[in-house]
């Protein structure tokens, strides 16, 4: 139990001071036909997800929690609870606005924790920022490459098992993330929905978060 609070906290604090990582060289993207629908890698519409979370620090240690993410238009609401039901954190962000902490126990009541938690949630569930191009990498994997004006790149690639993986390359290398989705199911309503997600923040102070989907509920937009 002790591990839940401190390690979760450390995960997101340490993410801000990870080891620098040099992005690898990319091969030239080649156009594909028919075009890959980049948006379908991410949830379509409004959803509530509940995940069982298991996390590990590169430096050792880890823990478990329950995570809730509610995607509603451009807004995100989220919560972390213990398995026993105690609310550790509840927050929301409207569009690109600041993260608002609705309820949190120490040390989760710090803005730095909330900001980094929401960044990882965006990486997992929201299409990256930037202009998107489609193409193919050297290993034949189809890719959607998002690139922002400041040079941040995010590649999301199909995998042979019908799922996807994502790699970010940022001007601040310590912000990079790798995500692997497993056991995806595709529906027109949901896009590609993975049953499991793994997010890796590399480096000496990095961490790995595994999310196992407990429930996914399509939300009806308010009239």
């Amino acid at each position: 139990m002790k591990r839940v609070a401190p390690w979760l906290f450390l995960v997101f604090v340490l993410s801000a001071c990870g080891t620098a990582q040099t992005p690898p060289q990319f091969v030239t993207l080649r156009p594909l036909a028919p075009p890959l629908s980049c948006a379908e890698f991410f949830p379509q519409g409004d959803w509530q997800y509940v995940h069982a979370i298991r996390f590990h620090l590169a430096s050792g240690g880890g823990g478990s929690a329950i995570g809730v993410v509610v995607l509603s238009g451009q807004d995100i609401r989220c919560a972390l609870t213990t398995v026993e039901g105690l609310t550790l954190f509840e927050g929301r962000v409207k569009g690109s606005g600041p993260v608002e902490i609705l309820r949190a126990l120490p040390p989760f009541d710090r803005q730095h924790f909330a900001d980094n938690l929401l960044k990882d949630i965006r990486t997992l569930f929201i299409p990256p920022l930037g202009l998107v191009r489609q193409g193919q990498l050297a290993d034949k994997a189809r890719v959607c490459r998002y690139e922002t004006a400041d040079g941040a790149i995010a590649d999301i690639m199909e995998t042979k098992d019908g799922c996807w993986r994502l790699q970010t390359y940022n001007p601040e290398p310590q912000r990079n993330r790798s995500v692997r989705a497993y056991s995806c199911e595709w529906t027109a309503q949901s896009g590609l929905m993975p049953s499991q997600l793994e997010l890796i923040a590399p480096g000496r102070n990095g961490y790995t978060i595994n999310l196992r989907l407990i429930s996914a509920q399509r939300l009806t937009p308010n009239p």
Binding site: M1, V4, A5, V68, E84, G85, L86, T87, E90, F108
Partner: protein, 198 residues
Amino acid sequence: MNVVRKLSLLLALTLITWSTAFAMPEQPRVQLQSVQANFFQEKHLPILAQPITSRGVFAFQAPRFLRWEYLYPVRTLLLVHNDSMKKLVEVDGKLVNDPDLATNSMQLVLEEITNWLAGRFSDNPAFAASFPDEHTIVLTPKDAGLAAIISRIDLHLQGKDGLIDTVLIHEGPDAFTRLVFSDAVLNLTLAESLFTAP
């Protein structure tokens, strides 16, 4: 960090205690030697369209053997055997130790358990107890810091034995956890290994 750790432990273990059989203070107390039951848990939050549900089983044997096991959605197991306590969590299909249960927290929880089983609600330093009717016990935090986390706890008793039927833990507006117990079996002789090993 201590706050979360202690509260999590307190929550987990006092739930075990609340779910065991006891009677209202003015009534003869059930002679409880052991109890086994199922539980169903709902976690409600304002942001949730539907509550998070969990289920599991527990066992208690007087004076200080406890087993509290979530089977869904995350399998975890809490074992208390006299003065030793351990928590296990399922990782990759195997139960592994969660190694950092603090000794002082364990002591705190065991003291709580002892009070609850004896029906000494007023002895609990953290909560004030009131009895609005013969089937309800309301616990209110004495400390403002704790009240910001758990605003109130309602215990609902059912039947002549005064078995706890439902526990409501209120955290704030529209944020609460409901535990419903079922299929309780009292006073069987339970194997000691039930409280020492998965």
